[in-house]
Symmetry: C2
Subunit: 180 residues, 2 copies
């Protein structure tokens, strides 16, 4: 889908405002599948995935202030390191088990946090964040490869619908990317 067809890569980040949440997140998954077709480079794919997530939530009117990834591969054992994202500058490293990201990574369970200030050991990269969802990306061998992290300026920004679709995105990322 090159520019000659009139469709540009950037158009994947355009979501119609009339779509329901489920329709928007389904479009996100379809766009990710199209963009990662024939592309296994994890940095490339997670960079575009960050953009898809950011623009999907903006189109839904969710007040996201950060959307991106922390990755575990290739680094010190049990440390997450900052990956591609959209939003303001972020903490570079997070220990497994610490905060929302570290807990999702070590427990291998999605964390939906309605109020980050009530979360034990919350790590504030941005003092304005009110709620957060973190979804672990698990390899076929059961290893935490990375986490999807989205922050919101409002309380209760995310729910079980987000969890369901973002876990599907995590599965697509595991299938499409070579983490090396």
């Amino acid at each position: 889908m090159g520019s000659s067809s009139g469709f540009h890569h950037a158009d994947h980040a355009n979501y119609a405002s009339i779509l329901s949440k489920e329709e928007t997140l389904e479009q996100l998954l379809l766009s990710y599948e199209a963009l990662s077709d024939d592309q296994t480079n994890w940095v490339c794919n997670l960079s575009n995935a960050s953009s898809l997530i950011w623009h999907a939530y903006k189109s839904l009117g969710v007040n996201v202030n950060w959307a991106g990834f922390y990755v575990s591969h290739g680094n010190e054992k049990d440390t997450l390191i900052l990956g591609p994202f959209q939003g303001k500058v972020a903490c570079q490293t997070i220990q497994f088990g610490k905060g929302v990201c570290g807990t999702a990574a070590s427990k291998k369970e999605t964390q939906v946090v309605h109020d980050v200030n009530k979360y034990p050991g919350h790590i504030a990269c941005d003092g304005e964040t009110k709620s957060e969802i973190v979804v672990p990306i698990i390899s076929n061998d059961g290893i935490t490869l990375a986490v999807i992290d989205i922050d919101c300026l409002d309380y209760k920004g995310f729910d079980e619908v987000d969890k369901k679709f973002l876990e599907r995105l995590g599965n697509l990322i595991n299938k499409s990317c070579t983490f090396k």
Copy 2:
């Protein structure tokens, strides 16, 4: 500078609106140096650098629609692959010598393009882009490691001042990052 001091990582992306262009871009360089201190992971550092660039230009009132990196390391020879960025979804790969990014990478010279539609062989990832600056990041051995790429929705978005500061950023990135 953890959250206990009241200063969060995200605050690096806050630039005062009263600053001149030179002061804002100088602050960008200082923030990059602080953030890359003790951190050599190129994905982590380029992800935060994308955020610093994006928010610096937004604070200056420059209508940027994309700010980020294409990298050459670890990939097929003479191919750039998409790295961390802020903005809409982007083309995954660019051949050396093709378009503004590929030309900066192969000539190892910054390209300041006032009107992308007049640039021979321009690759449109986003049909709305009007002007662009691309700065190569060159290793100590003279190899193109990556390029800094910033797009603008207005004509003549960038000039020699941007070139000067972004080339300094490119040097800092070469010194601080291990591309492997």
